[in-house]
Subunit: 237 residues, 6 copies
Amino acid sequence: MRPSKRAANELRAVTLERSVSKHAEGSCLVKFGDTHVMCTASLEERVPPWLRGQQRGWVTAEYGMLPRATGERMRREASAGKQSGRTQEIQRLIGRSLRAVVDLEALGEVQISVDCDVLQADGGTRTAAITGAWVALRDCIEWMRARDMVTKPVLKDHIAAVSCGIVEGTPVLDLDYAEDSTAETDANFVLTGAGGIVEIQGTAEGVPFSEEEFSQMMALAKSGIAKLVDLQKMSIL
Amino acid sequence: MRPSKRAANELRAVTLERSVSKHAEGSCLVKFGDTHVMCTASLEERVPPWLRGQQRGWVTAEYGMLPRATGERMRREASAGKQSGRTQEIQRLIGRSLRAVVDLEALGEVQISVDCDVLQADGGTRTAAITGAWVALRDCIEWMRARDMVTKPVLKDHIAAVSCGIVEGTPVLDLDYAEDSTAETDANFVLTGAGGIVEIQGTAEGVPFSEEEFSQMMALAKSGIAKLVDLQKMSIL
Amino acid sequence: MRPSKRAANELRAVTLERSVSKHAEGSCLVKFGDTHVMCTASLEERVPPWLRGQQRGWVTAEYGMLPRATGERMRREASAGKQSGRTQEIQRLIGRSLRAVVDLEALGEVQISVDCDVLQADGGTRTAAITGAWVALRDCIEWMRARDMVTKPVLKDHIAAVSCGIVEGTPVLDLDYAEDSTAETDANFVLTGAGGIVEIQGTAEGVPFSEEEFSQMMALAKSGIAKLVDLQKMSIL
Amino acid sequence: MRPSKRAANELRAVTLERSVSKHAEGSCLVKFGDTHVMCTASLEERVPPWLRGQQRGWVTAEYGMLPRATGERMRREASAGKQSGRTQEIQRLIGRSLRAVVDLEALGEVQISVDCDVLQADGGTRTAAITGAWVALRDCIEWMRARDMVTKPVLKDHIAAVSCGIVEGTPVLDLDYAEDSTAETDANFVLTGAGGIVEIQGTAEGVPFSEEEFSQMMALAKSGIAKLVDLQKMSIL
Amino acid sequence: MRPSKRAANELRAVTLERSVSKHAEGSCLVKFGDTHVMCTASLEERVPPWLRGQQRGWVTAEYGMLPRATGERMRREASAGKQSGRTQEIQRLIGRSLRAVVDLEALGEVQISVDCDVLQADGGTRTAAITGAWVALRDCIEWMRARDMVTKPVLKDHIAAVSCGIVEGTPVLDLDYAEDSTAETDANFVLTGAGGIVEIQGTAEGVPFSEEEFSQMMALAKSGIAKLVDLQKMSIL
Amino acid sequence: MRPSKRAANELRAVTLERSVSKHAEGSCLVKFGDTHVMCTASLEERVPPWLRGQQRGWVTAEYGMLPRATGERMRREASAGKQSGRTQEIQRLIGRSLRAVVDLEALGEVQISVDCDVLQADGGTRTAAITGAWVALRDCIEWMRARDMVTKPVLKDHIAAVSCGIVEGTPVLDLDYAEDSTAETDANFVLTGAGGIVEIQGTAEGVPFSEEEFSQMMALAKSGIAKLVDLQKMSIL
């Protein structure tokens, strides 16, 4: 029995609330159970220096956590003077995942910066962030379309993410913190709406895992992400 | 006529929502109109080095803004590698204001860190932060009391803050961003529930102001803060 | 009786020595008793990026303390790798105060950087700095005028500053360190030669203060600043 | 045909040269073709603060590149003042991979720091680093064993890593830079000598990849890592 | 003819003014012509971590320049966030030079930090700093002696420094900025009162110099430093 | 007897291995006994901002040490977030030394960055670095010449460096770590092929040294550098 009493292939309650920011061109407050991430997509005129003059745009992401998003207060990264390795790893993952479904030429020479800030954490913040970031990004692109700033299709597909793990020998979907901290293996999957794989990250925390176990996690992830993509579709109706 | 159609002595709609964090010992989401600040109070066992062994506690505050809390996305301070002068000025003000109503000896040798993170900004973030931080701090102390970690009274009074300004020659209460950016003078007042003054900061943005104008702002602030203190009282009933 | 045996409304011995730097376009060594601040005004061709091409200039200030300006040696900020929140707060205040009396359009598209470095501290460094910085700034502008770099009036008025406090229940003017460290309330006032208020900062260190007490400090400040402005006038005869 | 004319399942020429440092307790210069990484394992008496007094040790890794290890000189990270996100991601991966085969209790309360410095890069630096780091770590542990600093078995298994990719539609093993920069998909596999999976990281650079393609890369990786483990065994005979 | 009309072997006007700081245990304002350096010696209870418990003390130095000490305003190092290589090089030199004449065991387990801050620069700041720092250090030790904190002799000798250079083919003593910026060769000498050499640094700015030229500079330095030592002796009478 | 059994005027075994980097335009692995330094010379199109448009080039150097190049592992500077004063001092010395023999106008408006990374340290890393850096720089310039990027002579002479010291009263050449850590005096000499002096740095570690001792070290250095220059000549045959 999982601590949350969920079935092995059951997601937490997921909600995607749009337009939560008065200022951002696109925004989404995503909740995977008690994990809450505020995603805003900001349109910026400038592109990175190495992209200038190439008629292509860029999508980037930044990730942060409020200091008391977690059980113990963490030091504020702005006060520490640098972002941790974990933070940088996560924001690079979010950016790569979003770019996998964006036609950067159709976007034109602008940058969209997606900020994912964890207001409350209970495991799976990076997968929640990717899933919510897609909604914020989509609304930002629609904001541009309404102003004729883009004309061709820019988003090629949905992108969503979920974690899986092996907890007490059983593969389970969408780990919360209680499971995450005891899982033998933890894996994150980022898939498109069409089921294409964009990113896989699997790590054995204790004993190594087998290819068979990995395949079971993959199967759970595919079904979970299909549901997340359905929720994205409903959220933008 | 003010842009928001408010009377000169009228606060924005103010709400104080408690227990918005699963983890923090005390928390409050404060809204002054479209200015939204999440305040969490975290109990920490350690005190600053210079206070060790003195049987006294400490209350400190940190302040931050989500990058897209504002009309234009700002650079994330964690990414810039340091907190701006403005950020440091504000968090020092919040900390001083809270300590003015705390009996640090009654608190015992612990530290309470209050984080004020602006989710959305529309002027007056520091005054909203102080007003909400008091609620989070109060709930943290009550959390301690329920566990017999404090026995004597710790909070000596309420503390709340509001801004005033002179806009087109007229003194007005609780400036929003539209007014703040055009005000000739901007002043922040931090007062206790009993009406004692804890902090006054007044700045002429354009032409200097007179003692008479300052007195008018002070009068507005006193009435505004009295209402904020009433709201704090209702929020903790 | 004050530790320095001064009357409640008595300034410390104040001197303003000009042309103390061989290199700077304007300079002033200001002493408020044992508080000594070296102020230099440097003319720079460049303006901040956000001001370029607007035919307006800028005045900015930086503040520092020699490590042993104080009773205990402090860590050198250049070695610590960052300026403290206090330092940033003070230099922002000096800059704002000076700009309040400068016609930035008449200055033309240049920047004047005023450095205020505390050689020896005995309380009131920021108010001494503002008072001396005005003299350095004035001499820098006259240096420009002698070279036809400015033609219209640039300085609109004098600016000077003084602290007041409530020490053992009595409002007093121009606190030295002995008083500053025991004052219940500490306030800084920045006024123009015409008596207009540019900045007020009042902080209760212990018990909150009343509006009445604040008015008494304001009255002391007005008379003190009038004397400081007279000293500025004599210094530039 | 691969640029290097290798078969799809063919590793580059791999060499593992031990004892390349006069000072380090264990060291290995690993070459995967033109990718050369110097690995040193340093025994340190101290453990991280959060591990003190727990009778357990720690293994950590740091990664760096000489500025001209690559085709274009990169800015030295020590001069830039921080390690890039990529560097941090890689050194966290190396550390996790090594710890997966170390019995930290048998190691005792010491830390082994493994430094992996890329002298010359031609793709696959992180997988070469892990493969060589195991040899350096093993020699460090044997150095301790020769001095009776460890008595029980510390290393539970071999660990080695290799990259795979899909280049022009074909899954291939051990990408060099020419392939890496054109691959549609890039994946890194870290496996134990017994074939257990410790880490999988797969990223679609362009179009998403399928589960079938992923399985093909996994199969290549398993055979490649088996050969790398054989080379490790031969190197320590 | 030298720009300053001095003879080749003539020092600038040198003054050593003691007790220029109200707070420091020892202090000296040293002037070599228009080069003015404020030196303070601060007694600190703590020693560097690597020296703890060894019954020996330490003498260290820090060096800084006010931003407008030079002809063009330089960026404040505290604002830049780090000390330049030049600054670090100079402060390491000052520290080494002072330690060469201190009996660290006789000093006892304390640290003396000597701060050398350049108020105005006209060439030769490091040599002026060393010469003045000796006086500040000496007064700090005498301050300790008056309080029975040291009993044995601590200072073994005088230490003073001067620059030499080859300007338009002629070896000259004590370069000012006008000469320093055109010299073909620039050398700094640090000697004890007894004439022992503690540090030599010679650099060819343009064409290499010969051993003969070096010997001529050495001879100038010896006579110059002998005069500086005499001035130190007179200053402490 | 020296620990290494060398004669007082005997260099360690010195080797200069060229073309050790696949990528760099010039490279040299220099060994002075157990001190091994990898030198790469990288051609870069950009020059420092202050040199732009002047038709002159620049040669600069950076220096680093692998963390376990020394007997005890040192903290990685990239991780510490800054280069130490020692590192900056050394890289400034290498750059100055190389520029002394380069005709910057003949080089044209490009920059050559020479990286000297110590793979293993046993004393004398800076002198080995300078000696090897000349070879890397020379090969970089020849690489340019082969591509008609330079036509006139660029290198004016050889440059090489060696340390000398006084160990137990005896002047000796080319100190290794065992001698360096016990030497009373340590001096570094940088000379051209023609015997001109480019840089002299001598430091008394314990008792001051005499002019006579200095002359003896100078004589040793001249003979040693003559041999190093011969080795450079042989290496580029």
